[in-house]
């Protein structure tokens, strides 16, 4: 029943996609300044049907309608309601439906909100966006249909992987998808701009808001994923340079570069081709990321289910996208003249772009190189965190300096007034760094440079904020907040890395272990039964021998019933200055429990500063357009 409704709705969306392309191409030839009203209607109907199809699937999950294979495979009647709903996008088919939803909704919103712009540009955008929609709809219908039915319907579902049953992971995919799929609209707009010749400043204005929206959501999505990894995966880290994390970072670098160079296009009407390339690149990388994650090529936490045929379809689609984008780009390419002064803000923004592209290339090579080697000469290798750390961290130092100085340099040509202040800030940073060296045990030239650069950016940003409080310029403020957030993020990651304490050991009930000035006492074990799992809980007493402060940590080993899975829940005590992190595991039912104890300073500040980066973006979205 739901299966038929769902499939009919999807087919309707598909039909409206074709209709939109047809009417839009007819409308291209007519004279006049405004778009035919019927196109608005078509787009609105299309949006309504897509949203309805998504709700149909949600209803299927809420009422556990196991006649849908998708619900049967990913849900269970004993699951809490919240996770039943979140299960809708927790699987491949459902997430693809969400993907299509965002494509369609953005298509409609762009049509409505771009009314100030050139008619043919808007029509072409609609056409390209609908080509994308149709492409993904065929993928959905032929390969990954969430509405496929099963007969006779089973009585009970297989359940959702327990490590996905988590609030952070319930919102992680939608955030990331708005960020990734949101890029589609300026992919289409870039193609449309090439086709219609509507470029320059006006083009920059038309896509500005959309770039910011997708940037904010991507940033937030990555942060939420990272937070989830920290408390759910039980190894106490938050970023691992895992291929799938990398896949989400690739479009982020491209979009960050785009956000900056777009300012140059808007203010100085130059860099048009570069902006177009970045627009095309961002969405291409988003699709590439999806391909890497969904095809199962990558060996990682996210490959919960995979299927090579999906990979082949996405790969085909991706090559088609890249090929047509390049073809259109080169046939329509017009030579531009660049007129840059070395000491101008343009140059600094280009420097930002250079760094972003450098990071992008590094991560791309590190992620794809093992895949190529495997396919070409079937040697299996992996590229670990050391590679990324060696290549990326040294370059963060100059980036931090530029992030502080760059925005202070004025457009076109600037004088050297700022340099006295810079000297003052560097001195301040050096002094603070000396304190850090004094307390830290492990030091390297690089870690010192990172601290100096980060503190420099932080001090600089604080001064900017002080100045801005009187001016009430939201655009400037949002920029300072994002840059300050980045400086703080690097600073706290550095501190966290320098001062964290980690120890693995095995312990029996009743034993104690001393680590530095902490004493860990394994007091007892108890069991607990919950709705969908059973748990063994360890009671640990943690004493700080310096001040005799006592804390209790209760890590769990959970045995979920549907599907039967074992998970280890870390016990985390978060304080303003540091986190205590303790996990407990048991293999082969021996008396010894395997304990991992960590003390991670300023953990919560890492999250706060990362969220600040995203917050800056959101503030900019709320600012009035005529302000800058």
């Amino acid at each position: 029943m739901l299966s038929n409704i769902g499939i009919s709705l999807i087919v309707l969306v598909l039909i409206f996609g074709f209709l939109s392309i047809y009417t839009a191409s007819l409308d291209l030839k007519t004279a006049g300044l405004s778009i035919n009203k019927s196109i608005y209607k078509l787009s609105l109907f299309q949006t309504t049907f897509t949203i309805l199809s998504f709700f149909t699937l949600i209803v299927g999950f809420i009422y556990s309608d196991f006649s849908l294979i998708n619900v049967y495979e990913n849900s269970h009647t004993a699951k809490p309601l919240f996770y039943k709903i979140a299960g809708t996008w927790g699987n491949h088919e459902g997430s693809l439906l969400l993907w299509v939803n965002i494509l369609v909704i953005f298509s409609y919103l762009f049509l409505v909100f771009s009314h100030k712009h050139n008619k043919n540009f808007r029509l072409y955008t609609l056409i390209f966006q609908n080509i994308l929609i149709i492409g993904f709809l065929f993928f959905l219908l032929l390969n990954s249909n969430p509405f496929n039915s099963i007969y006779p319907p089973p009585f009970e579902g297989l359940g959702l992987n327990p490590i996905l049953q988590d609030p952070a992971l319930a919102i992680h995919p939608p955030l990331l998808y708005v960020g990734f799929v949101g890029c589609s609209i300026y992919f289409s707009a870039a193609m449309a701009s090439l086709m219609s010749g509507y470029g320059g400043k006006l083009f920059a204005q038309s896509i500005k808001t959309w770039v910011k929206i997708s940037w904010c959501f991507q940033t937030l999505g990555i942060i939420v994923g990272s937070i989830w990894a920290y408390y759910e995966l039980g190894w106490g880290g938050f970023w691992f340079w895992d291929p799938v994390e990398n896949a989400s970072l690739l479009p982020w670098f491209a979009i960050t570069a785009l956000m900056h160079s777009l300012i140059v296009l808007e203010k100085r009407n130059t860099l048009y081709s570069w902006v177009i390339i970045l627009c095309l690149l961002t969405f291409t990388l988003s699709v590439l990321g999806t391909f890497l994650v969904r095809s199962g090529i990558l060996n990682s936490v996210h490959t919960f289910a995979n299927d090579p045929s999906r990979g082949i379809y996405i790969l085909l689609f991706l090559s088609l996208m890249i090929f047509s984008a390049l073809a259109i780009f080169f046939t329509k390419y017009k030579k531009e003249t660049y007129n840059f002064n070395f000491k101008s803000r343009e140059t600094f923004i280009l420097a930002n772009n250079w760094f972003m592209v450098f990071f992008l290339v590094t991560v791309l090579i590190g992620t794809l190189y093992p895949i190529f080697l495997d396919v070409l000469i079937s040697i299996k290798i992996s590229v670990g965190p050391p590679f990324y750390n060696i290549v990326i961290i040294p370059l963060v130092v100059p980036l931090l300096f530029l992030m502080a100085v760059g925005p202070k340099v004025s457009w076109i040509n600037s004088q050297n007034k700022v340099f006295n202040k810079i000297l003052f800030f560097i001195l301040g940073a050096l002094v603070i760094n000396l304190f850090i060296i004094y307390f830290s045990k492990k030091n390297s030239i690089l870690s010192n440079l990172i601290f100096i650069a980060a503190i420099f950016l932080i001090l600089h940003s604080f001064l900017d904020i002080k100045k801005l409080i009187n001016k009430k310029n939201k655009t400037e403020l949002s920029r300072v907040i994002s840059h300050l957030g980045f400086g703080l993020l690097i600073f706290f990651i550095g501190i966290n890395h320098q001062f964290s304490l980690e120890e693995d050991f095995n312990l029996k009930v009743g034993e104690t272990k001393k680590i530095n000035n902490y004493e860990i006492d394994f007091e007892s074990l108890k069991t607990k039964e919950s709705k969908n799992y059973k748990a063994v809980i360890g009671n640990f007493k943690l004493t700080n021998l310096k001040n005799n402060q006592v804390q209790y940590l209760d890590p769990e080993i959970r045995i979920y019933s549907n599907p039967e899975t074992l998970t280890y829940e870390a016990a985390i005590k978060t304080k303003i200055t540091s986190d205590f992190y303790l996990t407990m595991s048991n293999v082969s039912r021996s008396d010894y429990y395997n304990i991992k104890f960590q003390n991670k300073p300023f953990m919560i500040w890492i999250w706060i500063s990362a969220i600040m980066i995203a917050l800056g973006g959101f503030i900019q979205l709320t600012s009035k357009k005529n302000e800058d």
């Binding site: 490590i163 190189y369 290798i381 992996s382 095995n506 899975t565 082969s588 395997n594 991992k596």
Partner: protein, 142 residues
């Protein structure tokens, strides 16, 4: 005589180009230093030119009844159904580490039969098997 503008632009392009070349060189160089090769126990047995100090990955199935835990570390053997290798690890094993399940260990070889791991990877769902191990098993089943 070149105008100042042209000179500036040439310098700019030259700098940009130089930085990019340096960057790529730097990336490739560090990449070669930091890759980890994956081997099965059989490959380790057969390979003549194996480097013992170098970080690498070993994978296979955890042999039944081979896990021994004591106060300091955990030891187990990994098999590809032809050969076995003993692995020693002091640290927390991941959720899905279990007997007769696929596992990948990262670390260094002490000798051809003994591997000291720095990290154990087995973070998939219960039905999932790392592709490397699947391939080994399929090969040995023939």
């Amino acid at each position: 005589m070149l105008t100042k503008k042209v000179k500036n632009r040439t310098l700019f392009l030259f700098l940009f180009f130089l930085l990019s070349v340096l960057a790529v060189f730097f990336i490739i160089k560090s990449l070669n230093k930091n890759i980890l090769y994956f081997s099965s126990p059989t490959e380790i047995k057969q390979k003549e030119d194996i480097q013992f100090g170098k970080a690498m990955r070993v994978g296979g199935m955890v042999t039944k009844d081979s896990i021994i835990i004591n106060k300091k570390n955990i030891q187990f053997t990994v098999t590809d159904f032809e050969n076995e290798i003993l692995i020693s690890y002091s640290g927390t094993v991941p959720n899905l580490f279990a007997e007769e399940k696929g596992v990948v260990a990262e670390g260094r070889l002490r000798d051809k039969n003994f591997f000291i791991a720095d990290r154990i990877l087995a973070k998939h769902d219960e039905n999932y098997m790392p592709p490397e191990i699947k391939e080994i098993i399929e090969k040995n089943a023939k």
